[in-house]
């Protein structure tokens, strides 16, 4: 079946009414940029409550397991006459477990608890540095405030000790970095550990595209944003149906064909592939000499090299 056009329709380009209330407001996203005092910029993906939830549940499960083991140990020693000592030890153990589990782990594991490590989260300061012990303990101690209010026992008797977490949830909704009160007090945020993405040049094998690449004038300059758009298209095109590829490529291929004085019958997908190949793969020397193309490092800044106009 033909894939139809996406019709949450982007407004026509001459549409006159951009939102006048916040024309410059940044797009809503869970990603932030942090510039350190040394003027080094980092890009972070901050984790909100729903991405933190599995880590929290894992940590709760571990705490429950430790509490059960401590209780079993107390039962084991109660037979040898040190029950009172054991009870005192157990009370201290529960206190430490309840209030310092997160703080201790985050101090010694560089901002991670077992749950956060499994899920791939880490606590950092808001300027992107590792947290210290005070921050780790403070943000975990204040979890009790974030957990409020507590469920009312008169409605569901067994729920009287369950926190509803509205203070923390509202605080996270109101802050760009999804900070609960503990995070705000300690100056911390929770980020998603950066995954290692492997970017590489997409190899274009279509002979028509390779042939067309040699016909694109050498003096045609690809801007940075056009390069990014071509790169995005080349990476995603194989996941799209042929009809959808043509539909997406048509928007750019039609004006490009006119600019490059190519015949109107030029295949849209082929043209974008050809321009991508010429931009990212084939060197100018290759085009002139017809030598086999060399692969270049796409990880270098796109502004480098002679072919981009920034």
């Amino acid at each position: 079946m033909a894939t139809p056009s996406p019709t949450i329709e982007a407004p026509r380009l001459n549409a006159p009414s951009p939102d006048s209330r916040r024309p410059d407001a940044p797009s809503i996203d869970g990603q932030i940029n942090v510039v350190t005092p040394e003027n080094v910029a980092f890009h972070y993906e901050v984790a909100g409550p729903f991405r933190r939830l599995p880590a929290y549940l894992i940590d709760v499960a571990i705490r429950v397991l430790i509490a059960v083991l401590m209780s079993l140990a107390l039962l084991a020693v109660s037979g040898i006459g040190i029950f009172d000592f054991g009870m005192g030890f157990l009370a201290i153990g529960f206190f430490v477990l309840t209030h310092f589990y997160g703080g201790l782990f985050e101090t010694f594991w560089n901002g991670q608890t077992p749950g956060k490590r499994i899920i791939g989260l880490r606590v950092l300061t808001v300027d992107g540095r590792p947290i210290n012990a005070l921050q780790a303990v403070l943000r975990n101690i204040l979890r009790d405030v974030d957990t409020m209010p507590y469920a009312f026992g008169f409605i569901v008797p067994d729920l009287q000790l369950v926190g509803l977490y509205w203070v923390g949830l509202i605080s996270m909704a109101l802050t760009d970095r999804y900070q609960r009160l503990g995070d705000l007090a300690a100056g911390t945020m929770v980020v998603v550990e950066r995954r290692a993405w492997l970017h590489g040049v997409v190899k274009i094998t279509d002979s028509a595209a390779l042939a067309l690449a040699t016909e694109i004038p050498v003096d045609f300059e690809v801007t940075r944003s056009l390069g990014k758009a071509l790169s995005m298209y080349a990476e995603r095109r194989l996941a799209l149906s042929p009809l959808r590829r043509a539909e997406v490529a048509r928007h750019l291929a039609v004006p490009l064909s006119a600019r490059l004085r190519l015949p109107p019958s030029t295949n849209y997908d082929t043209l974008l592939c050809a321009l991508y190949h010429r931009t990212f793969v084939a060197t100018e020397t290759d085009q002139r000499t017809g030598e086999p193309a060399e692969f270049q490092d796409l990880n270098r800044p796109i502004t480098e090299g002679p072919r981009f106009r920034v």
């Binding site: 949450i8 951009p18 809503i28 869970g30 949830l169 944003s225 758009a229 539909e247 750019l252």
Partner: protein, 294 residues
């Protein structure tokens, strides 16, 4: 206007990230989204209060409370697509940072109303549930009307599990209901194409969203009870905890899940159709046209 500069950043996201993102969307558009929900749910709130009014008034025991909670939840579940239509249209409008004027939203809703009522009311059975609830004798258990309500709820669960974004297709894509040619795109074909091969995933996601939504509704309900006890010294459970606070909690959970559903629709479009690629390509085409003009 730059069409690649959208209100919500266009990129692929995980499901839990969509829930997080919904918090920020809700914050930035809090008042309009609340207004859209209020306008959308007002008739259903009135209908539900009237239709279920017999349950707690005759007897107020554990059984009738359970019955009231069950059928109120089922009615809200069935009515959600229709009740959140204005929210969906609003979010579709502001995505490209166009002004979303109330009159325009209502006009957009009116344009799609016939299809919306057909698909959500007839095909997915919403009207039959309203009729059954309106004429049911709640003091007589196991009636045919209750059978209808449960059957339609089950059908709606499956339909919305397999094809969850029908509302978005109707309201935002505006394909005709009847085909104008053999290959012409219609709402049904568009809906099938968008969800093809996605049914299994989406059903699991619906169950997950249902669990989260139930937890959210329960949490909101308990919080409202807490606030009522704090401010009005009403520490007893009474009819108001069911007839007033429960619907508020359910509709607030629906409000948040409607935002998540819209973001899920965007994400599906991005994954399926390379939507972020298209926006980027179209923005470059526009830039090329501008540079040619100069």
């Amino acid at each position: 206007m730059f069409i690649d500069q959208t209100e919500i950043s266009i990129r692929e996201r995980g499901k839990r990230e969509l829930f997080d993102l919904a918090l920020h969307v809700a914050r930035r558009h809090f008042a309009p989204l609340c207004t859209a929900l209020l306008l959308g749910v007002a008739p259903f709130v009135a209908f539900n209060a009237w239709a279920l009014s017999d349950i707690p008034s005759d007897r107020y025991d554990g059984d009738s409370r359970f019955q009231y909670v069950t059928y109120m939840t089922l009615l809200v579940f069935i009515q959600t697509p229709l009740a959140t239509s204005l929210m969906t249209i609003y979010l579709g409008q502001v995505l490209f940072r166009t002004q979303a004027m109330p009159r325009q939203l209502v006009r957009e809703l009116a344009r799609s109303a016939a299809q919306l009522l057909w698909y959500q009311g007839v095909v997915r059975g919403g009207f039959f549930v309203l009729l059954a609830a309106a004429f049911n004798d709640w003091n007589d258990r196991n009636t045919f009307a209750e059978f209808v309500i449960w059957s339609v709820a089950l059908w709606a669960l499956v339909a919305r599990g397999v094809r969850p974004y029908l509302n978005e297709v109707i309201l935002l894509e505006r394909n005709p209901r009847r085909p104008t040619g053999a290959t012409a795109m219609t709402t049904a074909r568009r809906n099938a194409a968008l969800h093809a091969g996605f049914g299994g995933d989406s059903f699991v996601q619906l169950i997950g969203a249902g669990i989260l939504g139930s937890m959210a509704a329960l949490s909101i309900w308990l919080t409202l009870c807490y606030l009522r006890a704090e401010f009005f010294n009403a520490i007893q459970t009474d009819r108001a905890t069911l007839t007033v606070l429960l619907p508020i909690a359910l509709w607030l959970a629906v409000w948040f899940l409607a935002i998540v559903r819209f973001l899920g629709y965007l994400d599906l479009r991005i994954r399926r159709e390379g939507w972020e690629v298209e926006l980027s390509i179209r923005a470059e085409a526009a830039a090329l046209a501008r540079s040619t003009a100069y």
